[in-house]
């Protein structure tokens, strides 16, 4: 309770002191635009903390370009898409050449559009967008841009991973699609329909529903009764936040046995809000690029996990921030300069170490590719999830891996590239 307050106070003090020290030094700055206030502030603050940790790791190991430090500069968008543009203008005025963001594809879209104009009008002063989590597929298709790099798998790739895993379970015969009625939910629905038809013709779609998103629905019982009467054995959903938690709670409370195949229903905050009993009543399968309890989790990554735990008092959730920062540092070193155009050329086609084999930045569309792990929430795990010293009593257990090849999808990207 009070510790949270003190933490926020300390964080703001350190942020202020950082800002004053770093002005004197010669650093490579990366602006991060995320919500630091409003209902999604916790997500933004955790991400900033994570990036600062990984930047510090690189700096401690000697920095880049023979001693230069990487500095993370946070900007608050309060989860308002217009504010993201305002803050981006500030980033431009502050002469920062790299910007990263990931919470909310509408925010990412604003950044892509604004930077597209800026980079065209200001040759030699281009700004690069390192997209760590915004998943709308079109960013690496028709909207692709040389100065945009995505380090997370896109919606289509995640759905491909879910569908590939579903084909491995012969007991899955009837699937119910339930998604939020806005851009992200609709693209999940479209990808699920297409990939189920292509890869799992034996699975029948017995329901296909779009719901009003963002916690507007209080009572999920009518949906549960529809799922019950459809005879579905699996629910494939892109829902997140209360839309996912309430659906899964209502399902557990009415004793309906189904599998949940999801992208975000198993994220730590959701897990805690549902509690152990609801989270483990039905299998809640989620897809990430790594998780702590995976038997193949490499030792070198375990060491980094332990360092992160000591630094942030949180279990790690995903690996993409780590390889994003490592690849950025490698690209700067390879380019021999901090100029975004040269760094962009270095990042294209770059390969780095991942949790399960190598991770690869596809040159064609700047979409990251890697093996993905399917895991379910379980209490039978080696390390339970810890968040700000609170033990959730559960974590993820591996169901299986999907190879990079199975989630590599064709792109429609026709990228215009600057001169080297």
């Amino acid at each position: 309770m009070l510790t949270n307050f003190i933490k926020i106070l300390l964080l703001s003090i350190t942020l202020i002191s950082y800002a004053s020290i770093s002005k004197a030094e010669d650093t490579i700055k990366i602006a991060i635009i995320e919500p630091m206030s409003g209902p999604l502030a916790s997500v933004g603050l955790d991400l900033i903390e994570g990036l600062e940790f990984f930047a510090e790791r690189i700096n401690k190991a000697g920095g880049v370009l023979g001693g230069k430090h990487i500095e993370i500069v946070p900007y608050d968008n309060a989860m308002v898409a217009e504010k993201t543009i305002q803050q981006l203008r500030k980033v431009i005025d502050d002469d920062i050449r790299y910007v990263t963001q990931g919470v909310g594809s509408n925010h990412a879209l604003n950044i892509i559009k604004t930077l597209g104009k800026h980079n065209k009008r200001n040759p030699g002063k281009e700004i690069m967008f390192l997209n760590h989590s915004a998943v709308t597929t079109s960013f690496t298709n028709e909207l692709c841009n040389f100065y945009h790099f995505r380090f997370d798998a896109n919606v289509d790739m995640k759905v491909a991973a879910l569908v590939s895993q579903m084909t491995k379970d012969p007991s899955i015969k009837k699937v119910y699609l339930l998604n939020q009625n806005y851009a992200y939910g609709q693209s999940f629905q479209a990808a699920a329909r297409r990939l189920l038809a292509e890869r799992a013709p034996q699975i029948e779609i017995v329901g296909d529903e779009l719901i009003v998103p963002f916690g507007k629905i209080l009572d999920f019982n009518p949906y549960v009764s529809k799922i019950t009467s459809s005879g579905a054995d699996t629910v494939l959903t892109g829902n997140w936040g209360p839309d996912a938690a309430r659906l899964i709670k209502a399902t557990a409370n009415s004793q309906l046995k189904v599998n949940f195949y999801t992208i975000y229903a198993g994220i730590p905050a959701a897990m805690n809000s549902m509690g152990v009993k609801v989270s483990t009543f039905n299998p809640i399968v989620q897809v990430t690029e790594s998780h702590e309890n995976d038997p193949s989790h490499p030792d070198w990554l375990k060491e980094i996990d332990a360092e992160y735990m000591a630094y942030a008092n949180k279990s790690p959730y995903a690996d993409r921030q780590r390889f994003m920062m490592d690849m950025f540092a490698a690209a700067v070193n390879e380019a021999g300069t901090a100029d975004p155009t040269a760094v962009g050329w270095a990042l294209e086609g770059m390969t780095a170490k991942g949790a399960h084999g190598d991770v690869h930045m596809r040159a064609e569309d700047h979409q990251m590719h890697f093996d993905m792990v399917l895991s379910r929430i379980s209490t039978d795990v080696e390390k339970t999830f810890i968040y700000n010293n609170e033990d959730y009593g559960m974590a993820y257990a591996t169901d299986g891996w999907v190879n990079m090849a199975d989630i590599t999808l064709p792109t429609t990207c026709k990228m215009k590239r600057p001169k080297k």
Partner: protein, 315 residues
């Protein structure tokens, strides 16, 4: 028949949840004329207090203590702030409660953090009581239903059958006469505001664990509560009950209908070929528009009968 019964029952369950959320709001408005924008915030406080208390001494004490604390908070707000604002009229009161909404949200974030907290259904009520059409019903849901029915009868009888209820009602319409009869009118107002907040708090205790307890819950619940009290008639307890059940049954029925204009035309044996934009419109199923229906009802009600179902004054 089975399907109808089942849908009505689900609708009733949801409707009573809405009633519990809105009863305190309509009470405060009916008795004091204050439209409390921060009502959902008191609901949120109830949920957070219940989470904290049940973590240490269990759910049953929380069920009684949490609404009590919320009532005290509400009474203090009335005594030290709202009473001073009262003399500047209803707009000032409205703006005051609007500001209060944001203050409570920030306070909650400071104390309990910004991620959802783990407030769960108590163990001893977390079992399936009975099944209907293949769907199990949790004992906790039935418990909530019973409590909300009890609230309605208790409130209704207190306000119409007891002396205290008479004084409360008289204090609103004829405050001078009531005070010259020796009753402390400001204290009556404080008690009513406290009671209204306690009801919100109780709803928070009971619904916080099924809806999820997080700082944004007040914001997402605000609108639907207003729909209920406007449709039912501002200030009418009976109206709030009927409107809640009406909205509950309407929405539940609508979600179970996968009919669209297009499917209706097709069953009649016609095929339509429209431009894509129109196709979206006729392909829209009733279940997809279900969550908007309450708001549609609100608009229609304001046009046709601005005083609501049981209200005795226009909005």
């Amino acid at each position: 028949m089975d399907v109808i019964l089942f849908t009505v029952f689900n609708g009733l369950l949801y409707g009573m949840l809405l009633f519990m959320l809105s009863s305190g709001l309509t009470l405060i408005f009916g008795m004091m004329g204050v439209l409390n924008f921060a009502h959902a915030s008191f609901f949120m406080l109830g949920a957070y207090f219940a989470y904290q208390i049940s973590k240490y001494i269990g759910f049953v004490p929380a069920l009684f203590i949490a609404p009590l604390i919320v009532a005290v908070c509400g009474a203090m707000v009335e005594k030290y702030a709202l009473r001073r604002v009262h003399k500047f009229g209803h707009v000032a009161e409205l703006l005051f409660t609007f500001g209060l909404f944001y203050i409570i949200e920030e306070l909650v974030q400071m104390v309990w953090g910004k991620v959802p907290v783990g407030y769960h259904v108590p163990e001893f009520l977390d079992f399936t009581l009975f099944s209907m059409s293949g769907m199990g019903y949790q004992a906790y849901a039935m418990f909530t239903l019973l409590v909300s029915i009890a609230i309605f009868f208790a409130l209704f009888s207190v306000l119409t059958k007891t002396r205290a209820g008479l004084i409360i009602q008289a204090a609103l319409t004829h405050p001078e006469i009531v005070s010259s009869l020796g009753h402390n009118v400001p204290r009556v107002f404080m008690a009513v505001f406290g009671l209204g907040c306690a009801l919100a708090g109780l709803a928070g205790v009971l619904a916080g664990n099924t809806l999820g307890t997080e700082p944004s819950m007040a914001l997402s619940l605000g609108p639907i509560v207003f729909v209920v009290i406007v449709v039912g008639g501002l200030g009418s307890l009976k109206g709030a009950l009927v409107a809640s059940i009406l909205i509950g049954v309407l929405q539940t029925t609508a979600i179970s209908l996968d009919l669209s204009i297009n499917s209706l035309i097709e069953t009649l044996g016609f095929a339509v070929d429209l431009e894509s934009l129109w196709h979206i419109l006729i392909d829209l199923t009733i279940s997809q528009v279900a969550p908007i229906l309450p708001y549609l009802l609100l608009v229609v009600m304001l046009i046709v009968r601005p005083r609501g179902l049981f209200g005795n004054r226009d909005v």
